[in-house]
Symmetry: C3
Subunit: 399 residues, 3 copies
């Protein structure tokens, strides 16, 4: 996908249909067409190309990018901030600690109050099943309405920075990394990808990554295997999405309770811990009822359940069984590294170390993917804008 001139990216974009992305939001990858996803990757690469050639991509003279994080975050926070900054938007955090939301303010009201000069809203809300994505839609509907009613002079578009269902900015970055590593989408047909559960001493990690991965990677004609111990299922709706994707793309989607089977001859492996879907549903209910004793009990149960599966780890032995013993190892980071960040974790230190550079490159696509999502939602004719930016030749760093 790496091209030699900006025009190459523009030429390819001209062959795609993504007009629905204009003034639209990005919630789930499977709500987007193949053309739309490719447009995101193309624009992401084009923006990176321009930055690396010191061409300014600042398209906003002023404007805010609102970020709302319900959960701690370094990577996603900095990726969003970097994406906004790259385009000229200033990030303003909606810190619910500082704000009055807690005091019975309705979502609709808050959404409008923070959006008078907002061009984009990025939300991370992945803690509770059935809540995060729904909340994002509430916010998006509110500002859409606010714009229609003449309250908001512009319509801020929403970027899902991780919800209970999908983690699109992560998985789109993962996929762009894969595309670059394999030299193009066309080379992915028939490749085997193992999305596997792995042991971590912590508990309650979101399901959005494994779900996002099977919901996206199954669209490339790959053989996607979802592996986890019994009881660690993900949302059935997303498995259904994966199945349909595989059919349509000429690939396959299979499940197994054996990490070994998943890794066998795999071209790509994604070993990562997550919590059982059923348990996360239970936790959501317990929180709803304010039953904190119940939550403590649940946590103990889950940790005990986890402890039974310490053998689910990405070891050197397992890696040897992958394609030529050198499958591409993926992770959204941070990983639980055996002997480094914990006693027993998701991956051997020696394996992780061997893949540090690819892993960091994988992460480096996220700011560009977010910027591309914003870019495509803000301009009706992105190709023309890219062209003009190149012609302007305004340097990012003065020279």
């Amino acid at each position: 996908m790496k091209m030699n001139t900006l025009q190459d990216y523009i030429d390819r974009l001209n062959q795609l249909n993504f007009k629905e992305m204009y003034q639209n939001d990005f919630f789930l990858t499977w709500e987007k067409t193949d053309d739309e996803l490719e447009a995101v990757w193309l624009v992401a690469d084009a923006l990176r190309f321009m930055r690396e050639n010191n061409i300014s991509t600042k398209v906003f003279e002023s404007g805010l990018g609102i970020s709302l994080f319900r959960d701690n975050s370094t990577r996603t926070r900095f990726s969003f901030a970097s994406a906004c900054n790259l385009l000229g938007l200033e990030v303003q955090d909606l810190d619910e600690g500082k704000s009055q939301i807690a005091h019975g303010e309705t979502v609709r009201e808050t959404a409008n109050m923070i959006s008078f000069m907002a061009d984009v809203i990025g939300i991370r809300d992945d803690m509770y099943i059935g809540k995060g994505n729904a909340y994002m839609h509430e916010v998006a509907d509110s500002v859409e309405q606010g714009n229609k009613d003449g309250i908001l002079e512009q319509r801020p578009t929403l970027v899902n920075l991780q919800c209970d269902i999908d983690h699109p900015t992560q998985c789109m970055a993962d996929m762009l990394h894969i595309i670059h590593e394999f030299g193009g989408v066309e080379n992915l047909k028939g490749k085997k990808l193992a999305m596997s559960w792995a042991y971590s001493p912590s508990y309650g990690k979101p399901l959005s990554v494994p779900q996002g991965v099977i919901g996206l990677m199954t669209r490339m004609g790959m053989d996607v295997v979802l592996a986890h111990p019994e009881g660690y299922d993900v949302m059935p709706e997303v498995e259904e999405v994966a199945r349909k994707n595989a059919e349509k793309s000429g690939g396959t989607f299979t499940k197994t309770n054996s990490m070994e089977e998943a890794f066998k001859d795999a071209d790509i492996v994604y070993p990562k811990s997550w919590a059982p879907f059923a348990a996360m549903e239970e936790r959501t209910e317990l929180y709803g009822n304010g039953d904190f004793d119940g939550i403590d009990r649940l946590e103990k149960e889950l940790l005990a359940q986890n402890a039974k599966h310490k053998d689910w780890a990405c070891t050197e032995e397992l890696m040897k069984t992958t394609k030529d013993g050198k499958a591409l190892y993926l992770h959204c980071l941070p990983a639980d590294i055996t002997g480094l960040s914990c006693e027993e974790g998701e991956v051997d230190e020696s394996v992780f170390d061997r893949y540090r550079n690819p892993l960091y490159k994988e992460a480096s696509y996220k700011p560009y993917v977010i910027a591309a999502m914003i870019f495509l939602s803000k301009f009706e004719d992105p190709q023309a804008i890219l062209k003009k930016l190149e012609e302007n030749k305004k340097p990012r760093i003065f020279k």
Copy 2:
């Protein structure tokens, strides 16, 4: 006030005298002349006009807007951030948690230390009677002196984002909303406005809004009625200001202990909870003495006192008694909505819902009002600047 071309705003500005605003601060509306207030509204509308027509109003290539919030805030925080961003200033929060102010640093020192590259300082300090406004003056005097002494290369101007006496950015936005709703200042003569206390389950809400409202709205020749239960008086000095304003403007300022009387045939109603002035004075003293038991006792007393006045609510029945049953309903938000945000509150849900759009529009003027205050304090000839910005035709969003 809505005009068809930027030149219309400029032409009107040319008829006004507001030269005192240059390099000056904005503390209280009644410290400003009628011309100066109109200039704020004109520039606010002009900046909005330009933004809506995608003309950049970025007048600062660099510079900081310092914000200091002694109290939680979503709206005001985002309004100030939006205003700064609209003009090209980057917001830097002075979070007293993070800072060393707590450690016995003098106001003068801090004010200078944060202002080396500050063009504006916005402060919200409304908690204690006799403190907030005084503190803002200390800060403004400090940086004025710092600039004279050659410590500060520029003189940051201060915008009062809410003090113990007035909430000028809120009330100026409220007024701009009224002006637009009634089609111009000239149509306000003889209109009846009811600033009324209303019941809220919470306690200790600032007096700055009712005080700001009677201190400003009495200047338009309106019949302004201040209604509250016995014992819920506001600062006598501000009532005096309102009286003088009314005389001068040919309107009236009256007081009543009956919400019904205030609402009767009112064209505009502003039902809102606040704490008794005397009680707030007592609280300030108790804090001064670190008497926290006393504060708890006072809070209990006030809540009990409040509970006696649950009948002070903006109900459908009351709204029916207003002019043609459809007075313009105002609130600074968030409102305590009966049945939504609380069991019994300031306003019926059905009333509030009917006015959601106007209420959000009312709020939407605040960022522009703040930006106008900054703009007028920074440019000796704002009309020329507006003209040049239009001629530059630099788009806010690249095209």
Copy 3:
């Protein structure tokens, strides 16, 4: 050093060799050549000259300045934010509270994750002996490697905002203040500077200021005296640096346990509290072992030890003994002022008040010093950039 035209600064820069600063970091002043330090002062003054003449110095269209503060800070935080803003970089705080660093993430990984679009990283980490500076080097090495490995498109440079060894941005600002007060470096030969310990009711103040002062001021041919009660020694390595500097510069570096002796006929005095080096080493070890009882015990010991030296204060009497009774009084602020911020402290209120303006001017150089460090690390030919900026004549404030 104040010059009449920007060309004067450029002409002087042309006579210096500072090419090693390009793409390099700023850790300790004694790791830099005399030319490199002078270049920082010249560019700082040049940037100030341009700002005061309303010439924009915005050299970045986009880009982040990452700040990481392990300790509270008002001044340094605002100085860094001001410096970044002056050059066009947006500050993004890496708040370890909000971030996942605490959760076993390696420095190398975090450094890369936050740096995809970072042009500069500013770190304050002064709490523990042997840790802060080492941590900064880890971060700098990580991003240097990340850039080499193609993970980071640019190489963010690091600015030491205070570590356990030195406080270069503070001391470089102090020195620039001295240079301006004495009318040039050439006038400093033979001047006497007293870096003296002074009593403060607080405990455990960093050693980085006294160490930074003796490590830098000894390079100007001055007679630098380090005075402190027995047991309040600073790092021996830094004393060694000071000794060598003095030899080389033709000045002297002496030590005394008498504040009176240090102040006698001094041209410049810097009375300030700090903790004994040995005690800080012990504290670091206690923290390492999580021995919090030990830390409490140590604190009590140190406070008791401090209390024995309340006579170490910058009084009017002492000031009278300095050169003509009016030595230049320096402090990094905030000072512990007897009778104002504490009962007994570092300095008499009357002395401090007399020097308020010079002290605030001293502080005002810090943002420019930081901006100069960034500027010199980012441009291979800073003189050409300064020249072009002047030719562009883009105003900082629109006109």
